[in-house]
């Protein structure tokens, strides 16, 4: 079975500092990996995805993520956090060996950026 883990329920960071939101996955075969963000009382917004190719993926709002196959990780990063980045972040995975139509989501990490 495929799964995804977000080991931190909450991440706190000061504005201007770099941020990292962690994600690890477990799938058979090659993964398709996604990051989404959810602002209060809104639906999820797509940030970025890794399907194949360059391990460093750049996405919306200055976010990027690095696919690390040996560590089965896909951590979300941003060089300089903004207060407006405060939100709930979800990592998700699917794979060809399971069913690429079905996304499995992590439990989410709440990012709090302090002024």
């Amino acid at each position: 079975a495929q799964s995804v883990a977000q080991p931190e329920d909450q991440v706190n960071v000061a504005e201007g500092n770099p941020l990292t939101v962690k994600c690890t996955y477990s799938v058979s075969g090659n993964p398709y990996l996604f990051w989404y963000v959810q602002y209060p009382n809104r639906g999820l917004q797509f940030l970025l995805k890794y399907i194949t190719g360059d391990n460093l993926v750049k996405g919306s709002y200055g976010f990027e993520a690095e696919f690390n196959k040996s560590q089965t990780s896909f951590h979300l990063k941003k060089p300089s956090a903004l207060v407006s980045d405060s939100a709930l972040y979800f990592c998700a995975v699917s794979s060809l060996s399971y069913n690429t139509d079905k996304l499995i989501f992590g439990t989410g990490t709440r990012l709090q950026v302090f002024p």
Partner: protein
């Protein structure tokens, strides 16, 4: 929210009553999905559709049924609502399956008393 609307946006109902949630898209995307979001669980797939009249189960499909009679509409029905189905329900769409990005609607907050 990528041309996706959900109705109703909020609903309060009583245990044992039927409930139907509607997802409508204007993007002409082939795939549509229903998820529920609960604290501590993230989002979990209920059912999805890969074309008109073509549907498949997700990981939490018990107690739910779906129908898709035209490309733009995907209905989720709770035949007899239970308190455990209190949740926020999200619809999503994608152009194709197979790793295509899913785009989400604004959600429906359902409370079953």
């Amino acid at each position: 929210d990528a041309g996706i609307t959900q109705s109703p946006r909020h609903k309060v109902t009583e245990t044992g009553t039927p409930v139907t949630l509607r997802c409508h898209q204007t993007e002409n995307h082939r795939y549509m999905y229903w998820y529920r979001q609960d604290p501590g669980h993230g989002l979990r797939l209920i059912h999805y559709s890969y074309g008109v009249k073509d549907t498949d189960k997700g990981e939490v499909s018990d107690g739910y049924s779906v129908s898709r009679s035209k490309t733009e509409d995907f209905l989720l029905t709770l035949e007899s609502a239970t308190s455990s189905q209190t949740s926020v329900y999200f619809c999503a769409i994608s152009r194709q399956g197979g790793g295509e990005t899913q785009y989400f609607g604004p959600g429906t907050r359902l409370l079953v008393l």
